[in-house]
């Protein structure tokens, strides 16, 4: 399985470098920033889902002692343009609404005051006159809407942002020739990351140099700075981000531009540093970070041997009031649309619609988790329809280990895998026969047991083409996704590693130290890791799409190779030997032949820094011992618009099998997870302790998605989930102990064979838990097609007449309204 034996540090659960300061309460988060003369912002938010702004009266607010500025959308627009957006044609959004509000909670006016409390007092004195417009509160209404119900009339008389329909392989033939077709309608709920820290920014503007200093927990600062600068009508070199610790993101803080831009505009207006922290209500309502909100009509074609031959998905996605990431989340889903199965034909149609809700942003999985859910649900439905064993059916359709490298129907590459090996390991860990016996024992009782299974791929190491390859005319067809590192060995021989992405709760300092230690053969506890601000100028995309560890590892390998070349050259010159005769181990450099001389890193560093004239002239022996390296995607290709091939954009493909034993109480209509086994293939594991933490955390979020979480809106677009007492994040009582194990197929494409693993917990848990619920209720004929399975929903399902349950088996699917093609 793995070749960890040869590694010194990679593969070990070393303790985290991040922890001491986090545990002591000394790590600086954005809300901890206090600057001299700093003032505080609060916003006035829309109370209507859709309305024209007729008038804004700010006099009473301005008159309140302690108020510094009251800023309307029109005033903010004098200093800022539209927020960054990838869609073409653009869907215009400003940091404050100008003429019209499009969802409840959209910021309309900002108030700056000496304290946050005064700012909120003043915000309450601002009067806004609205003229209500027809509200588009759900995707079906969006498909029909015309006239005043259109959110962005400048894009045409429709609320359809875009329709994309692609076919790969002989999909119509696959369905025409199939022996069985399994067809279901699925509804994936609007959920989101909801990290415990909301989004915030402190911005200082220096008029003399026209420079903005950002303290912000917005993610991907380096990549964002171009878009932010454009929105602020300045050059990127006029922005500096100061690295901060971030209280969780899970994707949710990637696209939240309005907070930082608004703080920057206010800082410029006030000529004082401004802090703007979302409160929880704002993060729930207008965080620009709700996840996918989709309905699928999905079909699986199966031949007489039980082999899957084709997949059809007709998706409507409720994107909300704006569309800043375009179809990125569907591009993501396309990376592994056929999952771990041999299937060569796919038909994928997506209709993206505008409604009066906050817009979507990424959430752990970025649409891939939805595609995994739908595919695994179809496989479970197929097992039921064909009366097949769900484990055996999956095995029959798995790609075999000799299939790799494998090109998917859409053109993506899978680098390696052994899916049956992962499934077998999970079944062994679970003692699946024991589970089956326990289930049989409780059959017919009010408390039933069900066994859930999901076998899913975890595409990792994103390349950014997914954001635009579905566009007819991409606005910005970027294709670079770099990560950088600088390593300096100081004059005393201590490695100092500088990374260019902040800590989101992943473990960048620990991983950087561990990976550097591996190459330099030093103890990671002796390595110093620090963060560069954007002034550092190195390119970094940061954590997203399960890419960071792999990309960091590539950058570190590159920098270490350059460093070690210098180390060897210095030692060889000192010893008068060939560089090939110098090797590195934990002592430092040593001569492999002859006298077996040894020089420690401290001695080599001393020579490199202080004794220039001992060495020959030329660049090789330039004073110092440092190297920087920018690593870009190891294996990506451009899409081909002519053939419809999407190219390689997510080729480092891990795998996971989750097995869930769940108890369904048919009287209380509740679900309890009794046992949970997760086996993951993330290639070479760098730190099993932190990797397992990512997996368990992702599973906890999957439990939220399946059982608890959903943003609810009424027919007038009012948000009904305005607190964490309404939007339910799993607590310690809902998340069970989870048994995690690894089955490793190293990636042939990456440094040390590492694959990404940051999203797999959530990518696999949603279908696995759901599968356990309806396995427990198989006797009732219940098959879950909609999340979350709350007690009230389960109660309704259990009390529905048996005939209604039967319709779920072969749905008289509601006719999907015809989408209006967007031109």
């Amino acid at each position: 399985m793995t070749d960890t034996g040869a590694r010194r540090w990679v593969g070990k659960s070393i303790l985290r470098k991040e922890d001491p300061k986090l545990l002591a309460g000394k790590a600086k988060f954005v809300d901890d920033i206090q600057l001299p003369r700093m003032c505080h912002a609060a916003t006035v938010s829309s109370i209507y889902a859709h309305a024209k702004i007729l008038a804004v009266r700010c006099d009473a607010a301005k008159a309140l002692p302690g108020v510094i500025a009251v800023v309307t959308g029109a005033e903010a627009a004098e200093l800022s343009g539209p927020l960054p957006s990838r869609a073409n044609p653009t869907v215009t959004q400003h940091c404050l609404a100008i003429d019209k509000v499009r969802y409840v909670g959209e910021p309309v006016v900002a108030v700056v005051a000496e304290t946050r409390a005064i700012a909120e007092d003043a915000a309450a004195l601002v009067e806004v006159d609205y003229e209500e417009l027809p509200v588009v509160a759900d995707m079906d209404a969006a498909l029909e809407a015309r006239g005043d119900a259109v959110l962005h009339p400048e894009r045409g008389d429709t609320n359809v942002y875009t329709v994309v329909h692609r076919k790969w392989g002989e999909v119509d033939a696959a369905f025409a020739n199939s022996a069985h077709i399994v067809k279901r309608m699925f509804r994936w709920p609007r959920v989101s990351a909801q990290p415990i820290e909301t989004v915030g920014a402190v911005v200082e503007y220096e008029p003399a140099t026209q420079h903005f200093f950002f303290y912000s927990n917005m993610s991907q600062q380096m990549m964002a700075s171009g878009g932010l600068a454009a929105a602020l009508k300045v050059r990127p070199s006029q922005l500096s981000f100061v690295p901060m610790y971030v209280g969780g993101s899970f994707g949710g803080k990637v696209g939240v531009y309005h907070v930082a831009i608004l703080a920057a505009v206010l800082a410029r207006i006030c000529c004082r540093p401004v802090k703007f922290m979302e409160d929880r209500l704002e993060h729930l309502l207008n965080g620009n970070q709700h996840g996918s909100d989709r309905r699928y009509l999905a079909e699986l074609a199966i031949d007489a041997n039980g082999i899957f031959t084709g997949l059809r998905c007709d998706v409507v996605d409720d994107y909300g009031a704006y569309f800043h990431l375009a179809l990125g989340a569907h591009g993501n889903a396309a990376a592994q649309i056929t999952g771990p199965y041999r299937m060569t034909a796919v038909d994928y149609k997506v209709t993206a619609v505008a409604t009066n809700k906050t817009q979507q942003g990424p959430y752990r999985g970025f649409g891939g988790e939805v595609a995994n859910f739908v595919l695994e649900r179809l496989v479970d439905a197929a097992a039921r329809q064909l009366k097949a064993d769900p484990f055996e059916l999956r095995k029959r359709n798995f790609l075999r280990p000799d299939a790799f490298p494998y090109t998917t129907p859409t053109g993506n590459l899978y680098d390696s895998g052994d899916y049956e090996g992962v499934l077998d390991e999970a079944m062994r860990m679970a003692k699946i026969d024991d589970w089956k016996a326990r289930k049989a024992k409780q059959r017919g009782n009010s408390k039933r047991l069900g066994i859930g299974v999901a076998t899913v791929c975890e595409r990792s190491v994103m390349n950014v083409t997914e954001f635009w390859f579905f566009e007819d005319k991409p606005l910005n067809p970027v294709s670079s996704s770099p990560e950088s590192v600088s390593i300096r060995i100081d004059v005393q021989g201590v490695p100092i590693v500088t990374i260019y992405a902040p800590c989101w709760g992943n473990s960048p300092e620990t991983l950087a130290a561990q990976l550097t230690a591996e190459h330099l053969c030093v103890d990671p506890s002796t390595i110093v890791v620090n963060y560069a601000g954007t002034d550092g100028g190195m390119l970094s995309k940061g954590p997203a799409g399960s890419r960071f560890t792999v990309m960091l590892a590539g950058a570190i390998e590159g920098a270490c190779q350059a460093l070690l070349a210098k180390v060897k050259a210095v030692a060889a010159h000192r010893w008068g030997c060939k560089e090939e005769d110098v090797a590195i181990d934990e002592r430092g450099a040593f001569m492999t032949a002859g006298d077996g001389h040894v020089m420690t890193f401290a001695q080599i560093a001393e020579a490199s820094y202080l004794y220039r004239l001992d060495f020959p002239k030329g660049d090789r022996f330039t004073t110092g011992l440092a190297a920087s390296y920018t690593y870009d995607h190891p294996c990506a290709t451009l899409p081909d618009p002519k053939t419809g091939d999407l190219g390689i954009f997510y080729p480092i493909v891990g795998h996971a099998c989750h097995l869930v034993l769940a108890e369904v109480d048919t009287e209380l209509a509740t679900v309890r997870i009794v046992d949970y086994v997760a086996v993951h293939d993330v290639g070479q594991v760098v730190n099993p302790m932190t990797m397992d933490g990512q997996i368990r955390g992702g599973i906890a979020q999957g439990i939220g998605t399946v059982l608890l979480e959903k943003y609810e809106f009424d027919e007038s677009g009012q948000a009904l989930t305005g607190s964490l007492a309404d939007y339910l994040i799993p607590t310690a009582c809902e998340v069970p102990d989870i048994r995690v194990s690894h089955f490793t197929t190293p990636s042939p494409l990456t440094s040390l064979g590492i694959k990404g693993g940051g999203e797999g917990g959530r990518l696999a848990s949603c279908p696995a838990i759901t599968s356990a619920i309806d396995d427990a209720l198989e006797d009732e004929g219940i098959f879950i097609t909609e999340l979350p399975v709350t007690p009230s929903r389960l109660f309704d399902l259990l009390r529905a007449p048996a005939s209604d349950r039967a319709t779920q088996e072969s749905p008289a699917a509601p006719e999907r309204p015809t989408a209006v093609e967007h031109h």
Partner: protein, 159 residues
């Protein structure tokens, strides 16, 4: 609103006196007036538990408590868990050993809740620990490693 009241209390063993508005939340007072930013604010409506501190030995949501309510009391924050020399409390070390934190934002509040559990229930079972921390939300860990850390600390408090 602007009339200020004097608040006098013991904070992590030191007597502190400061004027503050009656409406000032204890969380705001701790973070902004006292400069103890280890206590974090997550939801400001009493659900997430990130702002949990000990007031007279009992956990309170500092976002649901006014600063003036702490007058005359003894307050302990995450900074007060540290040993006098600034080193980590054994419970904090257990959190590191068991990877009971990722982003660390909920951690200070979680630590204060766990400190109370350990004091009140030195023989707490895993289920009791789970129940005890169920008022503190963590979005990163899935809680299992937090339960592991607390259980280990209860078994080996002096490690």
């Amino acid at each position: 609103m602007s009339e200020k009241l004097l608040v006098s209390l013991e904070v992590n063993g030191e007597v502190v006196e400061q004027e503050t508005e009656p409406r000032t939340l204890l969380s705001t007072f701790i973070r902004d007036s006292l400069g103890l930013t280890g206590t974090h604010v997550g939801c400001e409506h009493g659900i997430c538990g990130a702002c949990t501190v000990l007031l007279n030995g009992v956990t309170v949501r500092s976002c649901l408590t006014f600063a003036v309510q702490a007058n005359g009391g003894k307050l302990k924050t995450v900074e007060g868990l540290l040993r006098r020399d600034g080193s980590l409390h054994p419970l904090q070390r257990k959190f590191a050993e068991h990877h009971a934190l990722q982003c660390g934002f909920c951690t200070p509040g979680m630590l204060m809740t766990c400190e109370e559990i350990c004091r009140n229930k030195p023989a707490a079972t895993r289920e009791e620990i789970r129940d005890g921390i169920s008022g503190n939300l963590c979005r990163c860990t899935g809680y299992q490693t937090i339960v592991n850390a607390v259980a280990d600390y209860l078994e080996n408090p002096h490690d």
